[in-house]
């Protein structure tokens, strides 16, 4: 566990000491998406789950670019593999960072939405209180975990790891299209789809571990 936390700490330091303009972008994103969330109709069979999953995808993708893709492309991953940290600790530490940061930013969007709610017009169908948001939190968390795990897997499996966001987007697109199609016939709880995403995340984490223990992890990157 201490090794996972060390990996997390490394990613955190790299993030906070990185380009400050990224923080400004995040601030604008949180405010903008908070306003969008505040005005969203969450009352019935709507596109709201799609938005939630999309938010998760965009934020997680941004972190996984640095955490997995850049690390592999810059060559620092090879040194990390020989640093004395176990490969599992490297993988899980990186995933933990992506999940926690995406949840943190998603949570900030939710808080922003709640703060903006009184000021946004046409909110009659907005969530009555925080409890109505729980299924969305679950969905967001499930999608985030799946994104982090699939990013870990595809960052090694793909010859060009920069394509991983397209793959993630396609994957989530398929899942959410399936969800919308099925829920059109018979309503499905958002908790179910969150659970499905989490299960897929576990499967991807397993596959990612196998990739991290293979020699493909240092295979030259195709650009």
């Amino acid at each position: 566990m201490s090794q996972i936390m060390l990996m997390f700490r490394k990613e955190w330091l790299n993030f906070v000491r990185g380009d400050r303009s990224v923080l400004v972008v995040y601030f604008i994103m949180v405010a903008g998406w908070g306003a969008l969330l505040a005005s969203m109709n969450t009352g019935g069979p709507t596109t709201a789950p799609l938005w939630v999953v999309f938010f998760s995808m965009i934020i997680a993708a941004n972190f996984s670019s640095t955490v997995f893709v850049l690390e592999r492309m810059s060559g620092s991953l090879e040194i990390l593999l020989t640093s004395g940290l176990s490969r599992s600790a490297i993988l899980y530490g990186k995933m933990l960072f992506i999940v926690l940061m995406t949840l943190l930013l998603g949570g900030a969007c939710a808080v922003c939405a709640l703060l903006l709610r009184p000021y946004v017009a046409a909110l009659q169908r907005a969530p009555a209180d925080l409890r109505d948001l729980w299924p969305y939190f679950a969905l967001y968390a499930g999608a985030t975990f799946m994104n982090a795990a699939s990013s870990a897997y595809f960052s090694v499996w793909l010859p060009n790891p920069r394509l991983l966001h397209f793959i993630n987007l396609l994957l989530l697109g398929f899942i959410m299209t399936g969800y919308m199609a099925v829920s059109f016939i018979h309503p499905i709880s958002l908790y179910c789809i969150a659970g499905l995403l989490a299960l897929l995340g576990v499967a991807f984490a397993f596959l990612a571990k196998r990739e991290f223990e293979s020699e493909r992890i240092i295979k030259p990157v195709v650009l």
Partner: protein, 313 residues
């Protein structure tokens, strides 16, 4: 005493491309082994196999008694590594990077700080507060060396460790290698810088045509003769004199003539006599000893010859 690094009949290929075939190597405690070879010969592949980031197709590898491919993190904590990429995170300072690597190796920061104070306080790295991405290539190489020697590991794998080092930094590196050898550490150093191989290594091997061949130290010229050097002026006629006596074409290198002789007991007094008679001022005449570089150059030339099937260096 079992060898620190043991490789028996190692083979490795990537798809259809065979890189290493039937390579064997043993490096003992306190020994420094130089690995040379043309670009693409497989030096980095061999190092990656020994580090356990690549898996051998055939053969037996052992580093510190363990299998590198076992992904045993405790084995990596006993290794010092410098690879093509320095592996530092550019946004972090050198000290922040070192704190992470020290923790990864299970070394308390106070011990790591003491090591840095003792061995790196006179360098520009010490307490440098710049992010690593803002420091020079040579300084980054020093950072990588500082990380490699952290905790005084038992075995070191260096891929081009002397690249971009200035004179002081190179001397410092040599002192660290000597100190680690004193502690019984073994080294595998891959480099194209032949002076570094000469300076640091007890033994050297050349990778060529997928195979690893041990190189004798100071084994002489390409025709199997002994190599000699004569410190004298650079005048074309001295080259003619040397050639006429010894039968080999001399080369001018760092203020001295280097040439190959088959019978040094007879040829050297004769060549000195002829040079003095011709008016050449000789400062020193000595056999070229303890150098791999001449052997390596000869091997490169020999393998690049059309009938050897090699390619030009």
């Amino acid at each position: 005493m079992p060898p620190v690094i043991s490789v028996q009949a190692l083979s490795k290929s990537f798809g259809r491309y065979s890189i290493l075939e039937d390579c064997s190597l043993e490096i003992s405690e306190g020994e420094v082994y130089g690995l040379v070879g043309l670009n693409g010969a497989g030096k980095t592949t061999l190092i990656r196999l020994l580090l356990g980031v690549l898996k051998a197709d055939r053969g037996v590898l052992s580093v510190l008694g363990g299998d590198p491919w076992s992904h045993d993190a405790s084995l990596h904590r006993r290794m010092g590594v410098v690879l093509e990429h320095d592996g530092f995170w550019g946004n972090l300072t050198f000290e922040q990077n070192m704190k992470i690597f020290a923790a990864a190796k299970g070394i308390a920061w106070k011990d790591a700080a003491r090591y840095m104070e003792e061995h790196w306080s006179r360098t520009s790295l010490y307490k440098n507060k710049k992010a690593v991405k803002f420091i020079s290539r040579g300084q980054r190489m020093q950072c990588a060396l500082c990380r490699a020697f952290l905790g005084w590991p038992s075995v070191y794998f260096f891929d081009e460790p002397a690249v971009a080092l200035d004179v002081d930094a190179y001397d410092h590196f040599k002192n660290l290698v000597a100190a680690a050898r004193g502690r019984g550490a073994a080294f595998l150093i891959s480099s194209h810088q032949l002076n570094a191989i000469d300076d640091l290594c007890d033994r050297a091997g050349m990778l060529h045509d997928k195979r690893l061949a041990e190189l004798p130290r100071g084994a002489g010229g390409r025709n199997g003769g002994e190599l000699w050097s004569i410190e004298a002026d650079q005048k074309a006629e001295w080259a003619e004199v040397i050639k006429s006596v010894c039968g080999s074409e001399p080369s001018w290198n760092n203020g001295e003539w280097r040439f190959e002789v088959q019978d040094s007991a007879r040829a050297i007094p004769a060549v000195i006599k002829r040079l003095v008679e011709a008016g050449c001022g000789i400062h020193k005449a000595a056999p070229v000893q303890n150098e791999f570089s001449e052997t390596i150059r000869n091997e490169y030339r020999r393998k690049a010859a059309p009938d050897s099937g090699g390619r030009a260096p």
